[in-house]
Symmetry: C2
Subunit: 508 residues, 2 copies
Amino acid sequence: MARARRRSRPERIPGRIEQPPFRQVRMRYRPIEILNADQIEAIHQAGLNILQRMGMRVLDDHARALFASAGAEIDEAEMQVRLDPALTEELAAKAPEHFTLRARNPAHDLSVGRQDVIFTAVGGPAYVEDMERGRRQGTYAEMCNYMRLVHNLNIVHQEGGGPFEPLDLPAATRHMDICYAAITLTDKTWQPNALGAARTLDGLEMAAISHGIAREDLVDRCVFNGVINTNSPLQLDIPMAEGLIALAEHGQCNVITPFTLAGAMSPVTLAGALAQQHAEALAGIALTQIVRPGVPVMYGGFTSNVDMKSGAPAFGTPEYAQAAQISGQLARRIGVPFRSSNVTAANANDAQAAYESEMALWGSIMGGAHMINHAAGWLGGGLTASFEKLIIDAEMLQMMAAYLEPPEITPETLALEAIDDVGPGGHFFGTEHTIERYETAFYTPLVSNWDNYDTWVQRGSVEAVKRANEIWHQLLEEYEQPPLDHAIDEALRDYMARRKCEGGAPMN
Amino acid sequence: MARARRRSRPERIPGRIEQPPFRQVRMRYRPIEILNADQIEAIHQAGLNILQRMGMRVLDDHARALFASAGAEIDEAEMQVRLDPALTEELAAKAPEHFTLRARNPAHDLSVGRQDVIFTAVGGPAYVEDMERGRRQGTYAEMCNYMRLVHNLNIVHQEGGGPFEPLDLPAATRHMDICYAAITLTDKTWQPNALGAARTLDGLEMAAISHGIAREDLVDRCVFNGVINTNSPLQLDIPMAEGLIALAEHGQCNVITPFTLAGAMSPVTLAGALAQQHAEALAGIALTQIVRPGVPVMYGGFTSNVDMKSGAPAFGTPEYAQAAQISGQLARRIGVPFRSSNVTAANANDAQAAYESEMALWGSIMGGAHMINHAAGWLGGGLTASFEKLIIDAEMLQMMAAYLEPPEITPETLALEAIDDVGPGGHFFGTEHTIERYETAFYTPLVSNWDNYDTWVQRGSVEAVKRANEIWHQLLEEYEQPPLDHAIDEALRDYMARRKCEGGAPMN
């Protein structure tokens, strides 16, 4: 085991929010294994079996043709693609176990795979909410503020593809405005909208401009991990297939994520839901390797369960934590980096939101997830991006990062001399051993309040959600836009202006 | 790996709170190992070294005499007891790895050790709080209500020694009233007050009466796991030594729990705090085995850290989770069952209370804890027992219990036929495979609300703490006192009356 690094000193500027520096998290502990190797093999074989007998319905002609070119059996009438198990495994084996995602600021490059973990901000909700104004449809101006916070929170390593839909902008072109915000308001990596070829190509063009290269040169520079959802059960629709192919052609990473809610879009048993997830993920992974052998790809696990009384999706459940950890085992079985999520069904930033998120986080992190999507900000089953939840999640993520740094065990840290000096019944405050270390000895919280009860009452009995509200307002005030070359900014604006004139990407 | 049991059907009586039946939790997964074997050995050796060179200050003459009789080196002037490493290890090795705790209702007997986990209710706070009345000093009547809830919550396996102090009763005798409540209001096991010989003997007498046996016969029936705190650093006071000796003499389990807050009562480094914890725990464990070789004993880990800005104790921190898991490794190193806790510093039932408790629970459970003290109800750094936190914790415990039951992997659960039948783009609601299983397929929540946003708003936007409030009120209405033989009740009352006449156990 490598010697643990000493906890790094938090960034302290008087009066400003104190947080650890930007740094990827390393998962040094052994992932939790819910199932044994035989059981994992049974699910893996079931997944292969599903692809062999039933196959995937692939609605996109080009995608079916690609599958056919690789030797898959195609039923054109049913648009079914059936894959021989050996072919599926052969294709999946071409995917790299590790790769690097490039940011326009190299200090924010991210390592994908091995022990490295990425925390990505929430992406895609329809609504936004905060304490002052409640839940509502979001605007571009508000979305930009959310992205400024994502930039300022060091523990959030990546922007998540637009935290919520800016509904004041036209549907056919707003994906470009989201890209522009992600490029200019932060210099971290960001996720593209891969819904159809046009949107994906716009993202690729704008990313290339931001890196100062031509779109064709992206094949040597992976800047995107774009989420591709299958239409569970066992279907890949045209927009997602187009997005997948465009990303893979450009050497970019697809994050193949079936949406297998047990009891609805997949069997009610976790085993069955995971077998189906595995089949769908394998099919998507295979397609990326047909398009471009060796292109980066991730195995996405999003299996949860529905409330069987109402049919509503449930998140952060015991089944979710198990599914995340078993998905990690399945991803390691095929040697592809694993993506999971931080999720809750709660509609308020209450105890439920926190305990469901913690179940999801422990499930994901101890499942060996290399990327946790929606790691900060997700509320209400993913329909809402919350300003306060962003901050509360950042606290939970910072705590996980600190937990994942094991303590140093050395003669100095074992402190036998200090224990001798203090002696029975004594006190360690003020000893030399303490004074030398106290500033960096422990995790410094962002939201948590450790006041004793009387002090807490004197200070207004402020609960966590209100503290989170104050923190995001202050962080927004502290925001400074990262520099961007003027010519690049011009080029981005020119590209958008031209594409908006052309009409953008109308909904298919 | 043993075949997983199918999730048991929850108890469903129309209109009543639905919960899983009383059953011990089994930790079937491999505990998380924060440190490698060499690092654990370094802490173990540091602990032995501390006992050899510095030793423990043992204020009780009888305890020092016992140590001397076993071959320890005693400095009577300083009241220091020094133990040779070989002697410490030899004594610790006499402790059993597994034993059974007997309840007056055999259905509530508990297995201690191996893969079995016990969730114990909060014990010892000075205050009580609920949503309606806020924080306050508690009364006996309120304490009895709290115990009724502990009895009614199936996921809480054990009463924790009085959830809070009933300050309307005289200090010298209230320990007996607490025992009487624990015996009569629930038929689960309960923890005694081991503060001094008199209180401990009262508890032993009353427990013996409740089991229909003489106090001397308890040596063949372990009914107690009593918490013994060392006075960290490295001191054992008279009341705790008396309690330890009385429990061990009667064949009862001591839970030796140093209170090593890093930076205050122990070194600021986690390594040093754990080395000191290990030394203190080993000294207490050794004493139990001197009193009665082979007597049950547990290794208690309670290492946390202080807020270095204010000196206030912090709980449920990243350091706490690490300390719990390393403590589990240390307890396994010496082969003694491990006790941990569910803790938070939060003063309100907000997101912080939930995420700190989850950090503590995941730390404890994945640390291989055999008993989690304060598993339900602890708030505000342990100064307060909360009615709503009891319910929210019960939800978190139920979720952990469900998470710890791995899914079955069989041809039936892999559901290839059901997947074939539904086909691409279909739906699993209403299929035979779903209908056969949906009632027991997933965890049924106690507190969590999975309504979609509009329904949640229509129903009053009720947050988790309010739902918990409604649940405990209903559970209290549903309470039925477990039967107790009239003669035993009479004997308990007679014993208390006599002892109260004698003056009880005045504070030393």
